[in-house]
């Protein structure tokens, strides 16, 4: 049997989360196929074909697949499911939206956000914001799984020579329609795949004060993130949120500024390789997970840190 991976892509290229998901698929075993569904996504299908270790790319191109509407993409997955032992998607906002719909239509209990493959039917997934790890075994004939990308090292995006098969998707469900999108334009690396992340919390005091973090992020070529408290307070947009209910990141270096370290935030960043915390409260829980901490006023320390980095 084969494993089907639903690609996260932008029409032209494959997002890195797809490469982490292919890595999980390879751990399960069997041929790995990638489904690229979209409208005018031929380049993404081509890119998928060169991903290392992929046997086949299924390319579904149609107007009704343009905006990843869950109703239409799930129907396509259901139509393809029969030939597969496992259906995987990265746990991105798109994967999380589409996959449970397909799972229910297949009468399968999805396994969300796995971080490890123990056996083809047994997986480890975090529960309670990562405060516990559950090892679960599925009894379903088709295993429908979302993959926490930080749990698997990405496979190479080149070196593969998969064939591309064009397939016909089912028609439009007519249930929903795309209206518009507001994308935050940023020159910075994407939060979930950045090598360095600089995050601010409630201690930043205001949205304006986040500007103080920008030179630091520039210097480190970092993505910028935030705690839920900072998002709740309206300082920064929700898609900056790192934590149980936001994005899960595991960069090489995570710099937490003015973040106390609530359980829900730690859930999103505690697998980072090196954690730095800057906080005025020396009792703040963030120091219990930080490799290096500085106690003090962030408005004084952050500019000093930037100066030191320039040396």
């Amino acid at each position: 049997m084969a494993v089907l991976v639903l690609a996260d892509h932008d029409g032209k290229s494959i997002r890195k989360a797809t490469l982490n998901t292919v890595a999980a698929a390879q751990k399960i075993g069997g041929d790995v196929h990638i489904l690229v569904a979209g409208n005018g996504c031929g380049d993404a299908a081509k890119a998928a074909a060169s991903v290392a270790g992929v046997a086949k790319v299924l390319h579904a191109d149609a107007a009704q697949l343009a905006d990843e509407l869950a109703e239409n993409v799930a129907a396509l997955l259901v139509a393809l499911a029969k030939g597969y032992s496992h259906i995987l998607a990265p746990a991105t906002s798109s994967g999380k939206n589409v996959l449970p719909r397909a799972a229910a239509l297949l009468d399968c209990q999805q396994i969300s956000e796995i971080i490890s493959v123990e056996a083809p039917d047994t997986f480890v997934r975090p529960i309670y914001a990562g405060n516990a790890l559950a090892t679960v075994k599925s009894k379903d004939p088709i295993q429908v799984i979302t993959v926490r990308t930080t749990g698997f090292d990405a496979v190479a995006s080149t070196g593969g020579t998969a064939s591309v098969e064009v397939i016909q998707p089912p028609g439009d469900s007519g249930l929903s329609a795309f209206v518009g999108r507001e994308v935050q334009k940023s020159e910075r690396p994407e939060l979930t795949s950045a090598r360095v992340v600089v995050s601010g919390g409630r201690g930043m005091g205001s949205g304006d004060n986040f500007k103080i973090l920008e030179p630091l992020a520039d210097k480190l070529n970092a993505a910028m993130g935030a705690s839920r408290a900072a998002v709740d307070a309206g300082f920064v947009p929700n898609d900056w949120q790192v934590g149980q209910t936001g994005k899960i990141v595991a960069p090489e270096l995570y710099v937490a500024v003015g973040i106390s370290g609530a359980i829900q935030h730690l859930a999103g960043m505690k697998d980072s390789r090196v954690i730095v915390a800057i906080n005025k409260d020396e009792e703040a829980p963030i120091f219990q997970v930080a490799d290096y901490g500085i106690v003090g006023d962030l408005f004084k320390l952050v500019p000093e840190l930037v100066e030191e980095l320039k040396k």
């Binding site: 999380k96 939206n97 449970p100 397909a102 799972a103 229910a104 009468d107 399968c108 209990q109 999805q110 969300s112 047994t122 975090p126 309670y128 914001a129 405060n131 516990a132 790890l133 559950a134 090892t135 679960v136 075994k137 599925s138 009894k139 379903d140 249930l175 929903s176 329609a177 795309f178 209206v179 999108r181 507001e182 994308v183 360095v196 709740d232 947009p237 929700n238 898609d239 149980q244 209910t245 270096l253 505690k270 390789r273 090196v274 954690i275 730095v276 020396e282 120091f287 219990q288 997970v289 930080a290 490799d291 290096y292 901490g293 500085i294 000093e304 840190l305 100066e307 030191e308 040396k311």
Partner: protein, 249 residues
């Protein structure tokens, strides 16, 4: 228009969860339980729609043990008109809950079902999408803005990289994200009023749903602990550590 809101009883978000020594799960005895925070947002949204005149009746549903009655009383105090408990002591997984909610939806005929995007216990993020699938309805997950019209709803969704807006046909399933609203505090008079509201109890058998778990939990363990590091006196020392010890910059 009638709205159904699903609410789940979970360990309170402030509680530090402890894994049981025998690896069978997490400690729930003598632990504070509350309504799942995202479900509170779902309840609040339904009440706001009612206050705006778009909704005439709000039915709150919870699936689980008898103690979920407390969660439903909270939902009634926030503003639900009546409540339904699907009572079972069996472990309920998202597909089973979606099947129960489908049966309730078929009985109640709501135009809209609002759920939290995920429960903070199992962190599955599935039930809403599954319910929409089983009913053959449209879905809009991770909503940060909801406008309801007669035959459709316009929903702004939190997605990676920004926001997306969908127009969905009613009936529909919507799941809530953090910024949809800020739930109100429940007042004492409303808690008193909630005690008099109707709370009906049903069993999964009576709804004809097999809720047996599909996933077997083999064990639950503590995640590897991260060791606390060192405090450094100033940015100079920090940069030195990052360059020469951690070799990360």
């Amino acid at each position: 228009m009638k709205v159904l809101v699903s609410v789940k009883r979970v360990i309170d978000f402030n509680v530090k969860v402890r894994v049981k020594a025998d690896g069978s799960g997490v400690e729930t005895a003598n632990v504070k339980m509350s309504m799942n925070p995202f479900d509170e947002i779902a309840m609040e949204e339904a009440v706001r729609l009612k206050e705006a005149g778009a909704v005439t009746e709000i039915v709150a549903v919870s699936c689980g043990p008898q103690a979920c009655q407390e969660t439903l009383r909270t939902a009634l105090a926030i503003g639900a008109d009546r409540a339904i408990l699907v009572e079972t002591n069996e472990e309920l997984q998202p597909l089973a809950v979606a099947k129960l909610l489908k049966k309730i939806s078929e009985k109640e005929n709501p135009q809209l079902v609002i759920l939290g995007k995920q429960a903070i216990d199992d962190d599955s993020n599935q039930t809403g999408q599954m319910l929409a699938a089983l009913l053959g309805w449209s879905q809009a997950t991770f909503a940060s803005k909801l406008l309801v019209d007669k035959e459709k709803a316009t929903v702004t969704r939190e997605v990676d990289g920004g926001l997306e807006t969908l127009s969905i046909k009613l009936p529909a399933v919507v799941t809530t994200d953090l910024r949809l609203n800020e739930p109100r505090y429940v007042t004492l008079p409303n808690i008193m009023k909630a005690k008099k509201k109707s709370l009906e109890t049903l069993k999964p058998d009576a709804l004809g749903v097999d809720v047996a778990p599909r996933l077997q939990t083999l064990k639950v363990t503590e995640p590897p602990k991260r060791k606390a590091g060192v405090k450094v006196p100033d940015p100079k020392a920090l940069v030195d550590k990052l360059r020469n010890e951690a070799k990360v910059i």
